[in-house]
Every structure is written in structure tokens, then in C-alpha cells.
Amino acid sequence: MNPTADRIVLGAAAAAIVAYLIFPVIVVLAISFSAGNFLEFPPPGLSLRWYRAIAGDPEWVSAFMVTLKVGSLTALLATLLGVPAAFALVRYVVPAKALLSALILCALVTPPIVTAISTYLFFVPLGLDNSIVGLACAHAVSGMPFVVINTAASLRSADRNLERAAIIHGAHPLWAIARITLPIISPGIIIGAILAFVHSAHELLIAMFVLGGVGKPVTVKIWSDVQATSDPTIAAASAILIGLAILTFVSVSTAQALARRRNG
């Protein structure tokens, strides 16, 4: 094959794969603005009626509030636990580092159903089931790797001499970290916290066991409605989650651009 033919074949393959990745997202967005009563694509007309339906339904409003609370608490816990761990892993010679890394990351590859039933068995005797705090405690375990990975990446690319300079000039080492290093690596920490939030907002199985009754978060509400109803309300709720995803992408890219400008 000649180089141009190569490029055309690759370009066509890439375009087809992008279409496969993006099309489902576009379909849900389009149906959420449907004027019709059913889940049909393309929608017969456009309206905001299904968004109004969500705003007017106390169950949906409460679901979004629960997701917001669990997600924020998860992000906070993951940050408080993950940032110090990233410092230890990047800056120190730690014995059995491979094992510790595996331990921090393993929640991400453990099948969610296993985490879900084991968490439930653990929470029921402690009275942590049906609790927003309980769910956030469980989500913090799988949210933490996002904070550790992104903080570690920032920390590795940050110039440590700035911190050393502050210490030489008389700053207490902890003060130097707080005033010099933390601001430099803050984009990485923010990205990690956002991803931990999104991870919590998307998690279904643990949420189903811990908050499956009253006070469901959005994913559990969508999941129970998907199997029962067929009007575009679910599409609108999904579209709000997609909006969250796009917002995530924009904030992560902004944070990364900020980090690049600082270091470059």
C-alpha cells in the first residue's frame, strides 16, 4: 500500500470507531429533548418537557441531591487519604512498593458485585446501610486511586528545588509543602478529586445495596426506572449525567492546561 492509501484506510477506521463511541451519547441527548411520549430516535419534535418533569418530581430531585452529597463526600475523603499516599509513593523509598501500589489500585479491578455484597455484609451489623456517609466511605476506596495517580503524576513533574529553596530560606518543611508544593500540584489533585466524584456518581452496585430503598442516588433511580418505564424522563436524567461528563472533561482539560502553563 502507498502512504496515502494507508492514511485513508486508517482515517476511515478511526472515523467509524469514533461514530461507534459517540453515537449512543448523541442518541440519549437527542431523546432527552423529545416532544414525544416514547423513547424514539430521531425524536418527533423538540421540547424541554422531560427536564421539567425531572425538576418537578421530588423523587428525582432527591436522587440528584443524594448523588451530589455522596459524590462530594467521596471526593473529599479520597483527596484527604490519597494525597499523602501519593507523596509517600513518589518521594520516598518504600519497602514492598509494588504490593502497596497493587493494594491501592486493586479496588478498581475487583468486580463491583463482589465489593457490593461484601460491603453490605459489613455495613448491616454496623448500621451503615441506608447511610449516605456509609456509601461515601465505600466509594472512597475506589475513588482514592484516581487521586493518588493524578497527584503522583503532578508531583513527579513538579520542580522540587522550589520547595528546597523555601526551606533553605528558613521555612518549616511542612509550611514549604503547604505554600509552595501543594499550589503547584493542585491541578493534579483537582483532577483526581473530580474523577473520584464522577466515579461515585456512576457507581451502581454498591449504591444499590447500601442505598437501594429510600433515598436512592441517581444511578439506582435510573436503573430501577429503566426496567419499569419507557418515557423519555430517563433520557433527560441520563442527559444531565452526560452534561456532568462533558463538564468533567472541560474542567479536567482546563486543569491540565493550567498545569502545563505553570510548568512550561
Binding site: 502507498n2 502512504p3 494507508d6 486508517l10 477506521a13 470507531i17 469514533v18 461507534y20 463511541l21 449512543p24 451519547v25 442518541v27 440519549v28 424514539e40 430521531p42 475523603l77 487519604l81 499516599a85 507523596f87 509517600a88 509513593l89 518521594r91 520516598y92 523509598v93 512498593k97 502497596l100 497493587a102 491501592i104 486493586c106 479496588a107 479491578v109 475487583t110 468486580p111 458485585i113 463482589v114 455484597i117 461484601s118 460491603t119 455484609l121 466511605c137 465505600a138 472512597a140 476506596v141 482514592m144 493518588v148 513527579r156 464522577v198 451502581l204 452496585l205 444499590m208 445495596f209 435510573i222 436503573w223 429503566v226 426496567q227 430517563i234 441520563s238 452526560i242 461528563a245 472533561f249
Partner: protein, 293 residues
Amino acid sequence: MTAIAEHAPPRAQAVQPQRAMPALLLLPALTWIAVFFLLPLVLMCWRSLAADGYSFKAYWIVFSSPLYTKVMLTTLESASIATVLALLLAYPMAYTLTITRGVWRGLLLMFVFIPYWVDIIVRTFSWLILLGDHGLINGLLRKLGIVHAPLPLLYSEFAVLVGMVQILLPLTIVVLFGAMLRIDRTLISAAKIHGASGWNAFRTVFFPLSLPGVYGAALLVFVLSLGFYVTPALLGSPRQTMVAQTIMVEASELLEWGQASAAGFILLVITTLIAAIYNRYFSLDRLWGGSDA
């Protein structure tokens, strides 16, 4: 070497605070993981043994029941096919990413990342609409006169795989792209200077060098596929039931916590083994700047 080390007490003392500090920094994270992740898993293991006095009865039921054998085989089959398909589609995309620059690379990465951050239920739900009897695909096929009655696309292995691969693709692409970026591009240029065509340079130099990355991605994607719940539940028929669904039904509907725990523990052992192989060959501590022995 050892003799010198033994006669160097001042250095050993200087190392002292270096040991306390990282331990202190790691303590909160590790304690949290121990309490909210490992302890529950131990509890689940205990529960699987304590179903009826202390015995392996629950495991015996799981291993001898035709239902579990069938579900486990379906799970392995769906996960394997989904992994292969995801790799086949991700490879050209990741390769395209390595040869594009600037705006194009940014744009392609955006298209890869946005679906990654869209909820799995939402993405699965979308196929429910597209593949249905009155969905877009059947509508299009009928309009073009290719079929007269709607094709039964939904509630089939086909639908489950379409959904699973779409969900697995972004991660597969990102992992392969990362591995491909570590390949030394000058080797391809060298092959071309020595007369290889673009295709031959790719086939004999780039492709073999990218294989370790492909194996790594395969292990990772396969582990994740084993735990799928939403996609087979929504897009599959009862024949496509995967093990996570069976565990869910045992626990939440039949309240057979002993058997659910036993099946969960078996699934945990399988995924941990695969993850351990991954960690052995594609060391995870690369994330923190490489292994320090």
C-alpha cells in the same frame, strides 16, 4: 558491599526519619482500604463458609450446580470475545492517535474520553433504543428494503457484545496508546531508510514492539469484562446471564448469602490472579515513577 554497609552507622541513622515519614503518610489510606475493602472481603469469605455450620457446602453447591457452570462459561465466553473485539477496534484507533499531532490528536482524544465519562447505564440504555424492533437500525434496514420483518437484534449475544465493547473501548484505546507512545519511532524511520515500505515497517517493526502493550491491555480488559452486570442484564436474554447477575439474584432476591458469597469469592480469586499476572509483567508502580527494586 555488605562490609561497607555494616560499617556505616551514620547513614543508617539518617535513614531513620525517612522510614517513619512514608509510613505516616501511607497509614490513613492503607487503614481505610483495610477497614472498608479488605475486612468486608474477609467477612464475605467467612460468610461463604458459615452457611450451614462451618463447611464448604456453599462452594460444593456452586461447583456442582449446572446453573453456575453454565453462567461461568457464558461469562468467560462473553468476556473473551468482548476483549478480542475491543482490542481489534482499539488498535487502529490508538495507532491513529500516535501518528496525529496537535488539534487532531486533541479532538480524537476528546471523542475517546467523553464516552468514558458517560455512565455505563446511560450508554447501555442507548443501545436498547437503537437495537429495538422499532429502533434506528431496524428502521433503516427496512427503509432500504434489506429486511421486511425487524431483525431480533436486542436480547441476544450480539447486543451484549455491542454494548460491552463500546464500554470497554475508551480504556482499551488509552492503555494501548500509552504503550505505543513508549515505542521508539526512530526504529520505524530506520526500517524505512533501509528500504522497507510503510506497511512492512509497521508489520515487522512497530507491530511486534506493540505486542506487550496489547497483552497488558488484554488482561486488564478481560478482568473488567468478567464483572459486567448492567449490559448483559439490559441487552441480553436469560441465556446471556453473566456471573455478576447470578450473584445479585442470589443475594438480593433469593437471600442465599452463603452461595452468593461463595460465588463472589471464586470470582474474586479469578480476577485477583489475573490482576497479579498483570502486575508481575506490567508493573503498576510505573505510575509513581518506576520500580525502586
